[in-house]
Assembly symmetry: C2
Homo-oligomer: 226 residues x 2
Amino acid sequence: MAQIPELSPLTRQLGYEFRDESLLHEALTHRSVASLNNERLEFLGDGALNFVIAACLFEKYPQVREGDLSRLRASLVNRDSLAAVARRLNLGDYIRLGPGEMKSGGFRRASILADAVESILGAVYCDGGFDHCRRLILDLFADRLEQQPDLQGLKDAKTRLQELLQSQRIALPEYNVTDISGKSHDQQFTVECRIDALGCTTTGVGRSRRKAEQIAAERAVEQLSR
Amino acid sequence: MAQIPELSPLTRQLGYEFRDESLLHEALTHRSVASLNNERLEFLGDGALNFVIAACLFEKYPQVREGDLSRLRASLVNRDSLAAVARRLNLGDYIRLGPGEMKSGGFRRASILADAVESILGAVYCDGGFDHCRRLILDLFADRLEQQPDLQGLKDAKTRLQELLQSQRIALPEYNVTDISGKSHDQQFTVECRIDALGCTTTGVGRSRRKAEQIAAERAVEQLSR
């Protein structure tokens, strides 16, 4: 077991004093170390983070529609943005990894860093409740939340594909569901996006027809932009 | 515009009195009626619901691992369970739909009902804050949360596939990533699951290699169970 580093510089940076510091230890323990690791807290923190950012964007942008709110959140909260937060907190110095992960430089890996941030949020929720957790989230993401979002750049893929084709006077794509699998409450849709004039066909898989269409459209945009 | 029905029977059932009842009206307005519809509130309510159920399961099952917590939540919160909640509240009588949706019986459609439940949760959060929203969620899902979950049935697909093959003394499947697309913070992995002895190959697409593997394994289990 790796030595436990002194955590007070970290809690100072977090601006949160744990009543039960073992929760913070758990949040900083990667699954390569112990069976009592940060995966459960990560599950909790991920939910808190997504909800708090959703509520913040909802309030901040009363005119923005659901699809754009959702894309805005995805652009704010993702592995890379979480890893950046982790680096600012020097989390790499605190995360406990198993020997294999240590050797391969796991403390620098974006996914490990990102997971640890979510775990800490889960730990703060457990220790101090929703308000403390919410405050920490808004604090950690303050810079990103203040930036003006590029809503145009966040337009959904079908819209962007349509505009791209219209600008070149090419007939619009056809979307067809080619497969539906899974049980009724957990279906997977496969959708094909065909642009006959360009001989371009892409597919997307998602939990709704709409989502699968968006993924197929995104891939078409990528292909056409190459 | 459809007539607005008297909402007090509904608020009685919800056990929540709105300070600003226009939020409840918004929550009951389908996008087929007006541009001010329930989609934004649904985005908010979906986040609240997923988080509150996550926190509840986290607390209730201290020994259950993250993967099982996640599957447990998916089995509790899905379109069908939300539609069942909606039917218990007779939401179909309150949702305002456009004429096209009215004619085609949209008030009975599971997705419209499910979305309205999430929208109401969003409206309660806006109107009364997190604690009221949380209480309503725990109340609406009380029956389901009390049922003992079948954790065995929730085992992940790779584990189930492995056990299925081992019971028939068949060599374990091979998983291979066949495609990675998308930008670095939003990648899509395509994974192939091959069971050579049975000539069975399935594919899965997901936002991580792990998820794509699980989807491919799920499909293999489905094929082998036919």
